[in-house]
């Protein structure tokens, strides 16, 4: 399942990425396979989303969240 399919308050563990270039950026920011992510909130218009990962808050667009495969 993709990270973009979660609702606020739901959690998942990162398994893999579907986009190589994007995965490099995401991993630098702490989104590593095995890391637990929680969707904190959606922006007022539903996109982008804010997630909690590796002890801080990160925001990204839904299209970017959709390359993150979670469990």
């Amino acid at each position: 399942m993709k990270l973009s399919q979660l609702n606020p308050g739901e959690q998942g563990t990162i398994v893999s990425f579907t986009d190589l270039e994007m995965s490099v950026k995401l991993m630098e920011m702490g989104c590593l396979p095995g890391e637990v992510v929680e969707v904190e909130r959606f922006a007022p218009l539903g996109d982008p989303i804010a997630i909690r990962v590796a002890g801080y808050q990160l925001c990204l667009r839904k299209s970017e969240a959709s390359v993150i495969i979670i469990q």
Binding site: E40, C59, E64
Partner: protein
């Protein structure tokens, strides 16, 4: 002279700038890295009685692989030993509340083999959150000095200064990971080619040699050939390296961090976010904050602005009374001093705006604005990050266009640069206020809304709408070069650091005075010359005519009015007047006469020149720049053919629209050229904005006249 060069490197939001300000105080300046337009912040610091350090603040980045233009500077400075900013010691600033992610960059820099030390900043916050870090053990495992600090509270500053001067100029750090496994042959070949012992440096060269300008064309091709020969897959190797580094950091941090109170960590931020980014309250609060910012810019600045204005009037009068009269005195007082006054008067507004923007950024609110606005902005070809430059555009397009460097995506960035000058900047403000006070009655609606104030706000709304519409059109014209990213940290809310706010105010005002000042003073002088001199034949004739009339007159009042008529006639026949009359046919459909034409010409270099030009043209005594007097002169101005007032509602509105849309700022043209590195974009901008201004004014005047 500095004995040692120190570079500050670290993630964004780690308090790096606070540390920089703390180390250097006001002893800092902004320069440029040679060949690129990234601002270089350097300052000086006394480490001990006999050791001075030059401190360089490098742009914040999460890794040595850059996502934006600003970030690419970090590797360029660290890799190039011949770069004048190449440091002797790197101070890596890390946020103690989020150590692991911060140490990623630390381990990359460490593997480059530069002498370095680590600052654990925000240890007070970490302690509050229940995080304890074993500093000594960390230092032992990394092989470098580690200084625990809290830059906000100035804790640990002396320890840091000592640590910097004790850093050996030979690197001591433990190598983090063995990078040769990622591309063994390619790394060996590059090491030989560029004569380095360092594996990681060789790997970075393979990844990023295109960005490293110090390699010659031939070297670039050779490195490119090595990449090809070994099928070097940049993204894949970067990913593998990041994973390996995080794995290494996990072993480094084992049993070093004790986190007891993680639960309460984000409580305040979460609660604030649930209101500030709420579907309803979020936008309402944002609009209220914008309203407050506007109000502050106009109302707080009025007192200091009057003070500056009166000061310059006094200075001019004093000069005319005490200096020997002559051409040089006139040039100095009516050209240079008048021009200087025209710049200094903007300082209060610029300082207030940047103070407020820096507070919004410092508290973490600006990141939320970006977060909320991204979806709307994207519809118009912009990004959430375009909000900051566009708000900044209300003060001045020049620094705002420079701040667009934070936008990683090329297309988003170009569109932001192209439309930011449409947002009404503070230089248009005097034009608006003068014209509004001329034609809009000073009435109150509903008892508390000033009609003049509403008109002013309408001008700003029109300008922002124009910017958004143009962006929407450009979205379809400009082709994207790469995918657009929006991966961004949302920092926790914090109190603003007042010292940073003051530094920002000081720094931006200084930049404005120095950058815009040069242009405006030059224009003031040129304008003065053009308006004072004309073809000698015509001037001689005027001189003769008035000498004849004055000889027959004895009444002093009549003499004074004759003197004014003579000045006005001289202006009409001066080079500036001739220029204005030449363009009159083109601007007549907009409702402008040749006098306004002169103002338009001078304003093409800087719109600030409008009020000054008007005051010269309408021959206000003593070069007094008080708008009240100019206003009366302009109100009384009559069209010589029809006898009707020149500044009707239609003409004034048409003029305001022209100033709202036209690209009348040399500094902006120059900065767009600098930022885009081509004349294509500033030329397109100049043409489309002027065309838009002309059409808007034409429509407004023809409908309203």
């Amino acid at each position: 002279m500095a004995d040692i060069k120190v570079a500050l490197v670290g993630n964004p939001n780690t308090g790096k700038s606070t540390l920089f300000n703390l180390l250097t105080g006001l002893n800092q300046k902004i320069g440029n890295f040679p060949g690129i337009t990234v601002d270089k912040k350097i300052g000086f610091c006394k480490l001990s009685a006999n050791q001075n350090a030059e401190i360089i603040d490098l742009p914040g980045t999460y890794s040595l692989y850059p996502k934006s233009k600003d970030e690419s500077i970090v590797l360029q400075v660290l890799a190039d030993k011949s770069n004048p900013s190449h440091p002797d010691v790197v101070v890596l600033v890390a946020d103690a509340t989020n150590l692991r992610r911060n140490l990623l960059l630390c381990s990359q820099v460490a593997d480059l083999g530069l002498p370095m030390l680590l600052v654990l900043n925000m240890t007070d916050m970490a302690r509050k959150e229940g995080i304890h870090i074993n500093v000594n053990k960390l230092a032992e495992r990394l092989g470098i000095q580690v200084v625990a600090m809290s830059a906000r509270k100035s804790d640990g500053l002396d320890t840091l200064k000592k640590a910097i001067s004790h850093t050996t100029w030979v690197s001591t750090q433990v190598t983090g990971i063995d990078v040769t496994i990622f591309a063994p042959e390619a790394i060996t070949e590059v090491k030989e080619k560029i004569k380095t012992e360092n594996d990681y440096y060789a790997l970075q060269v393979l990844h990023q040699h295109e960005h490293l300008a110090f390699f010659t064309e031939k070297e670039q091709q050779e490195i490119e050939a090595i990449e090809k020969a070994h099928q070097f897959e940049s993204s894949k190797i970067q990913g593998a390296e990041t994973i390996a580094r995080y794995r290494y950091l996990s072993t480094v941090l084992t049993d070093l961090i004790f986190d007891t109170g993680a639960e309460k960590k984000f409580k305040v931020t979460d609660r604030l976010d649930s209101i500030l980014t709420n579907r309803f309250w979020g936008f309402l609060i944002f609009i209220l904050i914008l309203f407050f910012v506007f109000n502050a810019i106009f109302s707080w600045s009025s007192y200091p602005m009057t003070l500056i204005e009166n000061g310059f009037v006094w200075l001019t009068e004093f000069g005319h009374a005490h200096l020997p009269s002559g051409v040089l005195t006139n040039l100095l007082l009516d050209g240079v001093v008048a021009g200087l006054g025209g710049i200094i008067i903007f300082i209060p507004q610029i300082a207030i705006l940047f103070a407020l923007i820096s507070i919004l950024e410092d508290t973490g609110y600006m990141a939320r604005v970006t977060f909320m606005m991204d979806k709307i902005m994207r519809k118009f070809g912009l990004s959430g990050k375009s909000v900051v430059p566009m708000i900044g555009g209300i003060a001045c397009a020049v620094p705002s266009i420079m701040s667009a460097r934070n936008i990683e995506n090329w297309k988003d960035r170009i569109i932001t640069i192209m439309v930011t000058p449409l947002v009404s900047c503070s230089a248009r403000l005097p034009v608006y206020t003068l014209l509004i006070s001329l034609v809009v009655p000073n009435k109150m609606i509903l008892g508390f809304l000033s009609l003049q104030g509403l008109t002013l706000m309408a001008m700003y709304v029109i300008s922002i709408m124009a910017a958004i519409l143009v962006a929407f059109v450009m979205k379809f014209i400009i082709k994207a070069k790469e995918k657009s990213y929006f991966i961004m940290e949302l920092p926790v809310y914090r109190m603003p650091r007042w010292s940073n706010v003051i530094y920002t105010m000081y720094e931006k005002s200084k930049t404005f005075v120095l950058e815009a000042g040069k242009v405006i003073i030059a224009i003031s002088i040129v304008l003065w010359v053009l308006a004072t001199y004309g073809p000698s034949k015509r001037f001689d004739a005027i001189e003769k005519k008035y000498t004849a009339i004055e000889a027959n007159s004895t009444d002093s009042v009549q003499l004074a009015s004759l003197e004014r008529d003579k000045a006005a006639e001289k202006l009409e026949n001066s080079y500036a007047g001739i220029l204005g009359q030449t363009i009159e046919p083109a601007i007549k459909p907009l409702g402008f006469d040749w006098k306004i034409g002169i103002a338009l010409i001078t304003s093409f270099a800087a719109r600030e020149a409008f009020v000054g030009t008007m005051s010269t043209i309408y021959s206000v005594d003593n070069g007094d720049e008080q708008t009240a007097t100019i206003r009366n002169k302009m109100r009384d101005a009559k069209n010589p053919e029809t006898g009707l007032p020149v500044f009707t509602f239609a003409t004034s509105l048409s003029l305001m629209l022209f100033y709202a849309f036209a690209m009348q700022c040399m500094s902006t043209v120059a900065v767009v050229y600098r930022e885009t590195k081509s004349w294509k974009w500033p030329v397109i901008q100049l043409v489309y904005m002027t065309a838009m201004a002309y059409v808007a004014s034409l429509i407004a005047y023809q409908f309203l006249k």
